[in-house]
Amino acid sequence: MPKLAALLGFGAILLALPHALSFSQQEILVFLTINVLLVASYRLLTLTGEWSLGHVVIMGVGAYASALLSKRLGIYVPAAMLLGAVTAAMIALALSFPLFRMKGFYFLIGSFAAGEIIRLLWKRFRDPFGGPKGLKKIDPMPDFDIGIYAFDFFEPVSYYYFALAVVGVSLWVMWRIERSPVGLTFHAVHWQDRLAEASGVNVRAYRTLAFVLASGFAGLSGALLAHYIGTINPNSFDVEQMVFVLTWTIVGGTATFYGPILGCVVLTILNEIVLREAGFEQMRPLIYGLILILSVLFMPKGLESLVRGAFSWRNARKKKAGETGAAG
């Protein structure tokens, strides 16, 4: 029960949060929500031990697909978003054939190359991708009313609620997958692929499954982004964005489900709000980089290790208090 209460309290905070923020901070909050889905999906990929440099491009595949489907074919935007996610997953499935002939660093480089090829296609083919200028005037989410709340997607708050629901459901699905026997098999493929294979696991199929699922969720996050900002171009999904995803994941830590999410939230707040408010506009990348180096040096296991440490410290204290209480 206290768990449920904590969850409800957390949900209430998330719902109340935008009303305590300025307009520009609300916009950052929407991006942050979308990025949480992106890093969580990235962790799903890293569960099998493969790190990709093409994940942001796959996100872009979802964004382009959803934008084009709604723009050209007039598909209802939420449906287009889902189809965008499916497209990203399908592209990932096609890419998995060449990419999963490689492992480790080779996969990393291969995924980068594959991503750049996709980005070049967007740049070269003015029709339908709009060339270097990308797509503009992407249809926004149509407003709707669910009785207790009228969504007006001109307002970031409304889009935040919508994104929060989509991201929440996605995270829940990913959490269930990780906690299932499928998730255990992902871990086995990561830590001991030979043991897994000797136990009858088709390692290649599980790597592909993780890649396709992660890409689907990344595509969904891209679709959320596209219909929010209304304009996307090949540079929205370049390697600089990928480096951000990598740093969120590394600074947060990949041992737990919440690690990369924590990294994304903390670093975004730090970068966009604290440093911006403190007036370090020019120095921001420098300070950001410094924080990265320091965190890797002093917290090699990521931010999640702090949370874990705090919990085990609390449990130890509780246990101690219980023992002395029983003695007295």
């Binding site: 997958i177 299932s180 026997p181 043991l195 000797a198 499954l209």
Partner: protein, 256 residues
């Protein structure tokens, strides 16, 4: 006559110019403990790697119940009932003992992602868990289920490796040097477990250096040297076979 459960027929494995296995043939009968011995570099582990599907042989065949399995991928070989363990403690050190054994139940209870998301695979998960606990019980590891596999002492890690294999309910297990790094007490316990395993109807093929264990345990022994078959027989025959003695002691006749 029914075919032997496992037949190695004229098997050859070359790595570039090196012939690791040279036209090796032997048979493993159902329900026996079959030892594969030989001096270092004789090709024992390579033989294991070919049988389990880790390598594709250059020539020859491996047959399981008369069906060719050489050239299949490792997981396909496993699905046909041949499960191997590894020379070093190949376990997921970061996962718990129970989770490691659950990996072994993969074939019997294949996970289904849609069922997992919908939460309708409870019965499957329970059955897999029961199977895993049974395997842990068999090897006396039940009390350690929630420990991290990496924290176990060496002897327990070897037993856990076998529990993972057993959880898959194999017809044939390939044990690669199960006694390495064990003290005499651990070796004795492990030998008892293997006899117990054999008595449940599992056929065991093992590679081992510990002669004491091999002689005490095996029903039949195949001795290899430089990739070739040197001798085959029961422990008594192997112990007194002149070629085996020479291979191990290195041309004792000339020294004497």
């Amino acid at each position: 006559m029914a075919p032997s459960i496992l037949e190695i027929d004229d098997l050859t494995m070359r790595f570039g110019g090196l012939t690791a296995i040279d036209r090796l043939s032997f048979k493993v009968e159902r329900g026996e403990i079959h030892g594969l011995i030989g001096p270092n570099g004789a090709g024992k582990t390579t033989t294991f790697n070919v049988v389990s599907g880790f390598y594709k042989p250059t020539g020859g065949e491996v047959r399981l119940r008369g069906e060719t399995i050489s050239g299949l991928r490792m997981y396909e070989v496993a699905r046909r009932g041949v499960v191997r363990t590894f020379q070093h403690s190949t376990l997921c050190a970061e996962l718990t003992v129970l989770e490691n054994v659950l990996i072994g139940t993969h074939m019997s209870f294949p996970p289904n992602i849609f069922a997992a998301m919908a939460g309708v695979d409870k019965a499957n998960r329970r059955a897999a868990r029961a199977r895993a606990e049974e395997a842990l019980d068999f090897f006396g590891l039940a009390g350690l289920a929630d420990e991290l596999a990496g924290d176990l002492p060496h002897g327990h890690q070897r037993a856990l490796g076998m529990a993972v294999a057993l959880a898959a309910r194999p017809d044939v297990v390939l044990l690669d040097e199960p006694f390495t790094g064990m003290n005499p007490e651990e070796t004795r316990r492990m030998m008892e477990l293997m006899v117990k395993l054999r008595n449940t109807g599992v056929t065991i093929l093992l590679v081992e250096h510990d002669m004491h264990a091999i002689m005490g345990l095996c029903d039949r022994i195949t001795c290899m040297s430089f990739g070739r078959l040197l001798a085959e027989g029961n422990p008594q025959e192997i112990r007194h076979h002149p070629d085996v003695i020479e291979a191990y002691l290195g041309g004792a006749r000339h020294v004497a």
